[in-house]
């Protein structure tokens, strides 16, 4: 068995010697260089664009403007599976270039040149005349009557409003003796900051177009490029090589449609679009900033009588993933701490800011910031221990969600809390840090998180797999679920080896997806790679095994049910004798003059299940009050991700998610200028991604309750590690200082404001 072992990543060697090829490394040097012309106003209309000076610059091939887009094919960008039901399709509100400007940084033109210097010069030489409209940056302002309208189809800029009603909130709050706890909680706009910026290049072959792109979702991007160009989807081919991180930003069609369009305008010439870091911050996708308002009515025994959540999600200028993000958090609210009387209202609202899309955690880091900050506030108000209070109210074992049918099979929360508390010596520290005085104080805080694994039943879950046996008995495996750095290919290798019965070295997962060749799969998103792909891997490997054993039967005359494949050999199970190697069988099968067969298998699994994946974070901090600074001293994440396929890579995933959570909780925030709508810190110096020196050692511990719905007992781990870190840090600062910071991040600016308000400075 290879599942459960810490095997080395299949791609680690090449990455460690620098041989791995990413998009830019593959692009031929004959490529034209494209750059996007971005708007320098937040809201308005392009009146005219003067390209005459730009076109005179030597090396400039052509300058395109929004007025050159004659056929207006509006397209959606979200990396969701397509829906054949128009009601469930993503909002098609983008054009490759737009005359209507909806945020500072909108795509209004493009330059194509022979080299990057000419392209940059041309961009600077273009003159744009705008008709400016008033703009709005704040969600609450955007919902007011008379606010600037960003899309005429959406009054008050509300893309969508959904509500959940359970019991009777208004009646329930009349119960005598209740304590009301109310708070507003804010999360900032943050960006994914994968180290490889988005990049793609496009070229035509015949009447077909090939786009090689740094994407998580090649099959989805093929559909979107087809929609954006108004051509048959079969004429589009997307190739996805190794990518330098995605984290959800590349779970959107970003500039593949524009690059393909430019290429087609230029007779199919190779065009490369390499997005600079500054543009990546502004004109790709960001995480939704969400403002949450929570009211809890608590009984003296610490149980909830009624609860209410209003969440306002800042969509930015275009719909992208839209309402799904805040809806996910809103859906989690009644589940995490079940209560008989709940009201939830979630709004997704357009503003004239960078477009928000998918980002690791998909709305749950924001929801947990609100919910777990609030939970702490309630526990403190009720004079209850934060851990005991949570244990009392958390989702009980056996809970089944009516909509998703997800069930909590095991005592996950308590097990994770126990493990995390032990790993960080919680009880001793919590006691020690009570009632401190002085300038420098310590605190320890906890947060749990809710997550689920895949997208069913909100959206389609399907995975296809192909396995092809080679002459030597090794096999190629192809899947649409992509390797984006998380280690998916290694997990697939382990799973295949186990089910097929071959040594690890004999499984070759084809890492590159090519939509002309790779079986259909929707890509890397949610936390569904091992869960979803697991089904099609198991089914396909069993199909291939069946074909192999059938052929083995013909060669050996032994009944198939007395045969098995063990470590690459055909073994007779009755006595354990090795009858032949898989390589011998495969060679015979291919070259047989009487019965030639190419042994391969392909299958699709539709998955109509989903799985909860829960855990917690405990963080320990030291707060220097006069300096308004927090130092993270220690942190641990505990997860029940079901059975771990590769504990070493699982641990590494958790580290990365924790790091993203640390940035979200302590330092990151994309700032927009109130006067212009322009992003002010769209570079890696001014945007405070945490560095090597901002982290303590990161600890990850696991509870392994095998998930019964899963093909390999696994469930979500990609996103969950980012979900509970920030509120745990916030709650640790709360314990240290008695000051709750409700606006993330807990950075010096917010601490200065709060410490001043609370009289600590």
């Amino acid at each position: 068995m290879y599942a459960g072992k810490k095997v080395t990543r299949v791609d680690a060697y090449d990455k460690a010697i620098g041989r791995t090829r990413y998009t830019d490394d593959l692009c031929d040097k004959s490529a034209y260089i494209a750059r996007v012309l971005h708007s320098t106003i937040a809201h308005g209309r392009v009146v005219s664009i003067d390209t005459s000076e730009a076109e005179k610059i030597p090396g400039v091939v052509k300058v395109f403007t929004c007025f050159d887009v004659k056929e207006k094919h509006y397209f959606p960008t979200a990396g969701h599976p397509w829906s054949t039901d128009p009601e469930h399709q993503d909002v098609a509100d983008r054009l490759v270039l737009t005359e209507e400007v909806r945020f500072y940084g909108d795509d209004i033109g493009a330059v194509v040149a022979e080299d990057e210097v000419s392209a940059a010069q041309a961009l600077r030489a273009i003159k744009v005349e705008y008709e400016e409209y008033p703009f709005v940056l704040d969600v609450q302002e955007a919902m007011k009557e008379g606010a600037p309208q960003i899309h005429k189809e959406y009054p008050n800029n509300i893309l969508k409003h959904t509500a959940i009603r359970k019991g009777n909130y208004e009646e329930a709050i009349k119960e005598p003796g209740l304590t009301k706890v109310e708070g507003w909680y804010d999360t900032p706009t943050v960006q994914h900051c994968h180290i490889e910026n988005f990049i793609c290049y496009a070229e035509m072959e015949g009447d077909r177009i090939t786009v090689t792109a740094s994407t998580q979702i090649p099959h989805i991007v093929r559909r979107i490029v087809g929609q954006a160009l108004g051509i048959e989807w079969g004429r589009v081919r997307i190739i996805k090589p190794y990518i330098g991180g995605g984290f959800g930003n590349k779970q959107d069609a970003l500039y593949e449609p524009l690059c393909a369009w430019l290429c087609m305008q230029l007779g199919g010439h190779l065009v490369k679009l390499d997005i600079p870091r500054e543009d990546t911050f502004v004109s790709n996708r960001v995480r939704h900033a969400i403002r949450s308002h929570i009211i809890s009515w608590v009984r003296p025994d610490g149980s909830y009588a009624a609860r209410k959540l209003e969440a306002f999600s800042d969509q930015g200028a275009y719909a992208s993933h839209g309402h799904s993000i805040v809806a996910k958090g809103a859906g989690a609210f009644p589940q995490l701490y079940p209560c008989d009387n709940v009201e939830v209202d979630a709004y997704t609202v357009f503003t004239n800011k960078s477009v928000a899309g998918a980002m690791r955690g998909y709305g749950i880091p924001q929801a947990m910031w609100a919910v777990e900050s609030h939970t702490e506030d309630v526990a403190v108000r009720m004079g209850m221990d934060p851990i005991d209070f949570r244990r009392k109210n958390l989702m009980p074992v056996g809970y089944v969600d009516a909509f998703s049918k997800n069930e909590l099979y095991d005592d996950t929360f308590n097990q994770c809390l126990d493990k995390a508390m032990e790993a960080i010596d919680y009880r001793r520290k919590f006691k020690e840090y009570q009632n401190q005085t002085g300038d420098v104080r310590r605190g320890i805080g906890v947060s749990v998180f809710w997550y689920n694994t895949a997208v069913w039943p909100i959206s389609l879950e399907t995975s296809s797999c192909r396995m092809v046996l080679n002459q030597d008995g090794s096999c190629q495996v192809q899947l649409g679920e992509t390797e984006i750095g998380q280690g998916a290919d290694t997990a697939y290798t382990q799973m295949t080896a186990d089910v097929l019965g071959v040594p690890l070295k004999d499984v070759h997962v084809v890492s590159c997806q090519d939509t002309d060749v790779t079986p259909f799969g929707t890509g890397a998103y949610a936390s569904r790679q091992t869960y979803t792909a697991g089904f099609s891997i198991r089914r396909t490997a069993l199909l291939l095994k069946e074909r192999i054993l059938k052929y083995a039967h013909e060669l050996t005359r032994m009944p198939e049910y007395n045969l098995d494949i063990v470590e690459g050999n055909i073994v007779r199970t009755t006595d354990g004798r090795i009858l032949m190697s898989l390589g011998e069988l495969s060679t015979e099968a291919l070259y047989s003059l009487t019965n030639s067969q190419h042994l391969s298998a392909e299958s699709t699994s539709q998955i109509k299940s989903n799985a909860y994946s829960f855990g917690c974070t405990i963080a320990e901090v030291e707060v220097d009050i006069p300096m308004c600074k927090v130092k993270l001293l220690d942190i641990v994440n505990a997860h029940d991700a079901g059975t771990l396929i590769n504990p070493a890579l699982a641990e590494a995933q958790v580290h990365g998610g924790m790091s993203m959570g640390i940035g979200f909780g302590m330092s990151e925030r994309l700032i927009f200028d109130e006067k212009t709508g322009r992003a002010l810190n769209n570079n890696l110096l001014d945007y405070k991604l945490s560095t090597f020196m901002d982290h303590p050692r990161l600890k990850a511990v696991f509870v392994e309750n095998a998930e019964p719905t899963s093909a390999f007992g696994t469930k979500a781990l990609g996103e969950p590690p980012a979900c509970s870190v920030a509120p745990a840090i916030r709650n640790a600062v709360y314990q240290a200082t008695g000051v709750g910071v409700n606006e993330a991040p807990v950075n010096p600016h917010n601490l200065f404001r709060r410490f001043t308000e609370e009289g600590l400075l």
């Binding site: 490889e196 991180g245 580290h655 982290h695």
Partner: protein, 168 residues
């Protein structure tokens, strides 16, 4: 105006080379485009991410903000140059593999080159010193934890402290 070129002679990964180079080129451009050393990555092009880090005369530099013409007479080492004569990889590369310090891999070449400079000092650095010496790189996948382990373990092993290395 006509383009300006200059003959740049230098040693790259132990081999003496020379080429006419556009004076506008960064060292990243030269290494990637003229010598096809694509381990040198572009992540920000302004010296903030560290993905293009290479060693010049024993010190680490972000090659994106280093003019190619300044390479004249210098000894440059990129990740491709770490392999031994028979293609065997170095201990620090092996440590990155063993410690799962590599995820998407895009920042890895730059990190490994900084690790090489640290290890060349042949002394034992404290944990905080290691963090500081590696702090010129951003990574979004690993949280730096396994990179830290890889560097510290290799440092200890080179100093003959096998037992301490196991405790990292």
């Amino acid at each position: 105006m006509s383009k300006q070129y200059k003959l740049v002679s230098c040693t790259i990964n132990g081999k003496h080379v020379e080429k006419m180079i556009d004076v506008r080129a960064s060292l990243t451009d030269m290494l990637r485009d003229d010598y096809r050393l694509t381990s040198v990555k572009k992540g920000c092009e302004v010296g903030e991410c560290g993905a293009c880090n290479v060693i010049i005369d024993g010190e680490c530099f972000n090659s994106c903000i280093y003019l190619a013409v300044w390479a004249e007479g210098k000894e440059i080492l990129t990740l491709e140059g770490l392999a031994g004569p028979n293609g065997e990889i170095s201990d620090i590369q092996q440590a990155f593999i063993d410690e799962a310090a590599v995820q998407c891999g895009f920042c890895s070449p730059g990190f490994i080159m900084s690790a090489v400079e640290i290890l060349e000092a042949k002394r034992e650095f404290s944990d905080d010193e290691i963090r500081k010496l590696m702090s010129g790189h951003l990574c979004r996948c690993t949280g730096y934890e396994n990179i830290f382990r890889a560097v510290k373990k290799t440092m200890l092993r080179r100093l003959g402290k096998e037992k301490e290395a196991l405790e990292v």
